[in-house]
């Protein structure tokens, strides 16, 4: 038996239940399994245990809705090279690169063994972001364009190196790591659970609710405490509000980048309305302070429930007009259609997740494949929005349809919400299950978020690992601009809107 099989709504797993196998066995199994589109890797990381380096791997089976856990170990100072899985399945590249960077584990024949994010505790301190080994192509007719790491707008830092033939992009390489803060280490450096919650909210500012929900999921599985119905519903509403706000904001940003003023100002107004709704509920426009483990400080009152219902209905109605405007403007369609295409096969190969994957026809959606919270309880019947084209327009239309869909979900959930029920207060003190591994998967607006916590014998968090969907999707952006004009890079970039700090942690 190579895997321990569980699912996204089960409790935490005792460490002793996770089989420890030989790398060769795991390698051979994954080599075959990952050829099937139903499987993909949710997380794969190493952590030192005593004088050993222990590797954990979470494999998702989308068809059977199962999560498969496995592990293997090697001596901390062992320098045996492991055969690289990235060479066969590029979707593993961020994981193998991280392990290599942190622990100097060599993956034999890894075609893209570059530093991932320049962690403070990386093994090779001589490798710095200023000496990032950019890929080069020689040729008289080629020129390189370097954009960043500091950008003209208000976005985060990241270096983009284009190799162009005239206006056409041959290759784009994205070097990240400027935003590294050591978030994962911070989680294990404190037992203060409120502090940890605040950390979770700060992993990526635009996904505060999604990350906090994932963290709360991890902790609640370790507490083995049942969560009440209203809490689950509130979290779903908050998550869908965040999805609406970000998708609307990106519709506006895409309009701005092509100089379409009406779409831009309409979406800016609607996005403000959406985040102000969240603010009226919990006091923060990004939903910070709303999600707490095992309880809430901001229960919905009847007035707030009504306010959210009214606002969401209004936003949904007005946004639909913008969507129709965009759909019926030839000048806009000429910009978005057939631009920045990522084919479905490529998306599966690189392990693309979330709305970007769905725009390419790759149905990766945790809400239906590994349901959590309200989606697992059946309060909403989720149907993923999927498009086939994989271009900027498809990504925009997935967003547009998801905004309308989320508005419906919020309406349905709030209509069945009973404000008279007792609510529970957050639990920051109960002891966590010792010697256990707990994971939670959430579909944030950008895609699949996976947090994994491992507790020690005293029940403190020893290792906390975070995976943001951007970790996979940055490569999708690089593929999208290949062969495009360099002037179309900004709209390709906006159509993904990936997180720098979520990647750099």
């Amino acid at each position: 038996m190579i895997y321990y099989v569980t699912d996204n709504s089960a409790h935490s797993v005792a460490l002793s239940d996770i089989p420890e196998v030989e790398y060769a066995a795991l390698y051979n199994d994954l080599k075959e399994r990952l050829q099937e589109q139903r499987y993909h890797i949710a997380h794969y990381f190493a952590t030192p245990v005593g004088n050993r380096l222990k590797f954990y791997l979470l494999l998702l089976d989308d068809k059977e809705h199962k999560v498969m856990l496995s592990s293997f170990a090697m001596d901390y100072y062992d320098d045996v090279a492991l055969p690289s899985l990235t060479a066969l399945h590029p979707q593993l590249h961020p994981f193998e690169r991280e392990i290599s960077e942190l622990y100097n584990v060599e993956f034999d024949s890894n075609p893209w063994n570059k530093p991932l994010r320049f962690s403070f505790d990386r093994r090779n301190r001589n490798s710095t972001i200023d000496t990032y080994p950019f890929y080069t192509i020689e040729g008289d007719s080629l020129h390189e364009v370097n954009v960043g790491p500091i950008h003209a707008g208000i976005i985060e830092p990241g270096a983009f190196r284009f190799i162009c033939n005239g206006e056409n992009v041959l290759h784009l390489e994205i070097a990240l790591g400027y935003q590294h803060r050591g978030v994962e280490k911070e989680f294990s450096s404190t037992d203060n659970r409120l502090r940890q919650t605040l950390l979770a909210e700060s992993i990526a500012g635009d996904s505060a609710v999604a990350h906090a929900t994932t963290y709360a999921g991890v902790i609640e599985k370790l507490l083995q405490s049942p969560t009440n119905e209203n809490l689950i519903k509130e979290r779903a509403v908050a998550l869908e509000l965040e999805r609406m706000a970000m998708h609307i904001a990106d519709t506006g940003a895409l309009s701005m980048d092509i100089g379409y003023q009406l779409g831009q100002v309409a979406c800016e107004a609607l996005r403000t309305m959406t985040i102000n709704t969240t603010q009226a509920w919990c006091g923060n426009r990004f939903g910070k302070g709303l999600i707490r483990p095992s309880g809430t400080n901001k229960p919905l009152t009847e007035a707030k429930r009504k306010m959210i219902l009214d606002n969401v209905a209004e936003i949904s109605r007005r946004y639909d007009e913008v969507r129709l405007d965009i759909n019926s403007s030839p000048t806009i369609l000429a910009r978005f259609e057939e631009c920045g295409i990522v084919p479905k096969e490529e998306m599966y190969r690189i392990g693309g997740v979330g709305m970007a994957a769905r725009a390419s026809g790759a149905t990766r959606d945790i809400r239906s494949s590994h349901p959590f919270g309200a989606f697992a309880q059946g309060y909403v019947d989720h149907q993923s929005v999927v498009k086939k084209q994989g271009d900027v327009m498809a990504r925009l239309m997935v967003r547009a349809n998801e905004v309308l869909q989320s508005a419906e979900y919020i309406r349905d959930i709030l209509n069945s919400y009973d404000v008279s029920e007792e609510y529970s207060h957050p639990d920051y003190t109960s002891a966590l299950t010792p010697n256990a591994l707990s994971f939670a998967l959430t579909e944030g607006w950008r895609g699949e978020i996976c947090h994994v916590a491992i507790t020690d014998e005293k029940g403190s968090i020893e290792t906390y690992k975070i995976k943001e969907p951007s970790l996979h999707n940055w490569l999708a952006l690089a593929l999208a601009v290949r062969g495009e004009g360099i002037s179309d890079f900004p709209i390709c970039n906006k159509s993904f809107n990936l997180s720098y700090c979520g990647h750099d942690l």
Binding site: V147, A152, I258, G259, Y260, Q261, L262, C339, G485
Partner: protein
Amino acid sequence: MGAIALNTLLMIVVALSIPGVINRTRSILAGRKGPRLTQHLHNVKLLLNKGAVYSTTTTVLFRIVPTVYLGAAIVAMLFIPVANLYPLISFDGDVICFAYTLALARIAIIFAAMDTGSSFEGMGAAREALYGALIEPAMMIGFATLAMFCGYTSFAEIFEHEQSFNLHYTIIMLLTAFLFVKITFVESGRVPVDDPRTHLELTMIHEVMCLDYSGVDFGMIQIAGWLKTACFSMIAANAIAATCCFYWWFAVPLAILLTGLSVGIVESTQARNKLVRNTTFIVTISALAALIFFIGYLLQLDINI
């Protein structure tokens, strides 16, 4: 003498007014109140009061270009009459001189962009050179149409035509006005060809060439841009005024509103072209110019329509 002074003054008024009208139109269409009509003047005043910062990779060429650019734009402006008034400089063939004075401005700023050694500015220079070369035929054929139909080769004489109603003359003048409105869009770098508001270096054409300019230099480039827009706008306005009401008090508001409103409306409602489609867009303007020339030729032969 008074007419010449008034002419020059009015050209300056047109140049300074158009950006304000564009911004106000865009604001109103976006449902905002918008900045005051003179906001752009305050912005440039601020720039003119500042010193300039120069990159260490640039040479003296980079420093003299703003002067050449603004100088060329001022000289070009002095060729343009305001309806029945008279421009400062006028001689036979001044339409050609006008076109190449502006070409001098273009080549100067292209050299300055190349001088910075920045990969962005190099791309901008390449784009500007391509689109500049493509719009030139449209402009020259437009002038040729006017010259052929009116029998003169100087702006001042072209538009001074008899006031009696003439159907052929009206048709050609209105078509030419339309052509020059289109040329205004390209020459002043507005949507759908270029987007002066964008912050994305990779998509810019004109703006990216000015990225390294600051303070007083940048202010001069902005003013030159306004003057250029005013020249083309006034040519279009003159062509319309010549058919109905050839007086300066009609042509001046017409020139301001023609460009101010059309640019404002297009920028509010339409997306920018994909960059590769700009080529088609501009070549189409040249084709339009050729068509108007051909119509003008047929009308001059006095065929019956």
